[in-house]
């Protein structure tokens, strides 16, 4: 097994997941069910996370098939479609996560007719994502399955646009100016600080330090941590698109991605859902339950290890 195999194992999940998430949201709308809506939002938040390694491993698959006589053009087209699909699943997941967090904070709004702004936004983005995922899947299939292509069939225009987007992004990151890369790094550090200041502080309090602080208002700071995470996903992807060959086979980078999946999964599941509502009643001077402390300790350990792994990436070359 290698990373190309990993790409084949993972690459169906974002496509099928998007359709499942979309179906859940539609059911939630027609059944007026907040519970199903939360599940749908959760599905998109996790898909946004899980789609990242799918995209990354695609570069390894492209490397592995380079000498096998496949059309490089088909691979580039698929990469372009995949990047657009990734962009939209990230946007969908982010808006869904913010909505999920709002419910965690304020409780469910009264059920009323018509769609809320958040729900409309997630639905619209999810529909675009579903289309782009379908294009990414089809163009990916074309690479190894010439039999599904009709005679003289050309690549979907949207995938060609995506391929141009990959190239122009790489040009911007690497060649446009020697100051772009440092600027992206700078924002990557700012994102790190936002995550550690908010998620880290909340975890430290739940663990029993700074006990005079109530938990609930610290939990309210999490959207800043989510902003930090969004900044770092964007800046991190820019590094990767700029120099995929530097990262994709680097085992420290791979370990960092795995750690990010666990840390951000922890953030989505335990900090942005109803699970946290039991813990944020912990007032000044009070102890959080043991279960919450285990979650906080693992979150803190993971984020710290992500910082260390990130700094060690050049060492893993």
């Amino acid at each position: 097994m290698n990373l190309a195999h990993l790409h084949l194992l993972l690459n169906h999940w974002p496509i099928i997941g998007t359709f499942i998430g979309l179906a859940l949201l539609l059911v939630a709308v027609f059944a007026h069910s907040n519970d199903i809506k939360h599940v749908g939002f959760g599905v998109f938040a996790f898909l946004a996370l899980g789609s990242i390694p799918v995209y990354l491993s695609g570069n390894a698959a492209a490397e592995a098939t380079r000498d096998m006589g496949f059309s490089a053009n088909l691979v580039d087209t698929h990469e372009g479609a995949a990047l657009l699909a990734l962009l939209f699943i990230e946007l969908t997941g982010l808006v869904a996560l913010v909505e999920l967090f709002r419910f965690t904070r304020h409780g469910d709004p009264p059920v009323r007719k018509g769609l809320s702004k958040g729900m409309s936004a997630v639905l619209a983005l999810a529909i675009c994502t579903a289309i782009l995922m379908a294009v990414a899947g089809t163009t990916g299939g074309d690479i190894r399955h010439p039999e599904i292509n009709a005679e003289g069939e050309t690549s979907p225009a949207i995938a060609t646009i995506g391929a141009g987007f990959v190239l122009s992004t790489r040009y911007f990151v690497i060649e446009y100016s020697r100051w772009i890369w440092p600027m992206i790094e700078d924002f990557h550090f700012i994102g790190l600080i936002l995550i550690m200041a908010t998620v880290g502080l909340l975890n430290i309090r739940v663990l029993g330090f700074l006990k005079k602080l109530p938990v609930r208002p610290l939990h309210r700071l999490l959207p800043l941590g989510l902003a930090g995470l969004a900044i770092n996903v964007v800046t991190g992807m820019l590094f990767f698109i700029g120099m995929p060959g530097f990262y994709v086979f680097n085992w420290i980078f791979q370990a960092k991605i795995v750690a990010i999946l666990f840390a951000a999964g922890n953030l989505i599941l335990f900090h942005c859902t109803g699970i946290f509502r039991k813990w944020d009643k912990v007032g000044p001077g009070e102890e959080a339950p043991l279960y919450a402390k285990v979650v906080a300790a693992s979150s803190l350990a993971l984020w710290l290890s992500i910082i260390v792994l990130g700094r060690y990436i050049p060492f893993g070359e």
Partner: protein, 164 residues
Amino acid sequence: MEIPRFFLTIEESGLSIWVRNNPFWAIISIHAIGMAAMVGASLIIALRLVGVAPDLPIAPLQRLYRFIWFGFWVQVVTGILLLIGYPTKSLTNWDFYLKLVLIAFGMVVMQMIRKRVFSDPALSEADMMTKGRTLAVWSMVLWFAVVTSARILAYTYTHITYPG
């Protein structure tokens, strides 16, 4: 300008050679965690004083100064080790001095906030915010400048080690 010979003397010392080997990665990792503690804790205080998270009580945030100072001393120790590893690289770079000055300003502003906002327990939260708001904005600007100047150290140096 002639590069002082003692940069070379430092570079040839056992400690300097040790830093430049494997420990380098561990030291810059700890340096990044120290940054997160120092700047992250300062950021929370500053954000609260400009009105973010209004239901977060201000007075107990004074405890965050422990994290700021802990982070600061971690940075001093790891920073000195890195400086011993690469004295020529840092000390011949104008940006290195800019960074030190900006850190000094950042810490001074944080101490001014401590004095004005946290030293008088009789102040109401509204008073604390009025007294601290401008300084809080300055601290955020300064910490952003510190992180930026630190990041571009890797892009502004002329010699990585003593030339020749």
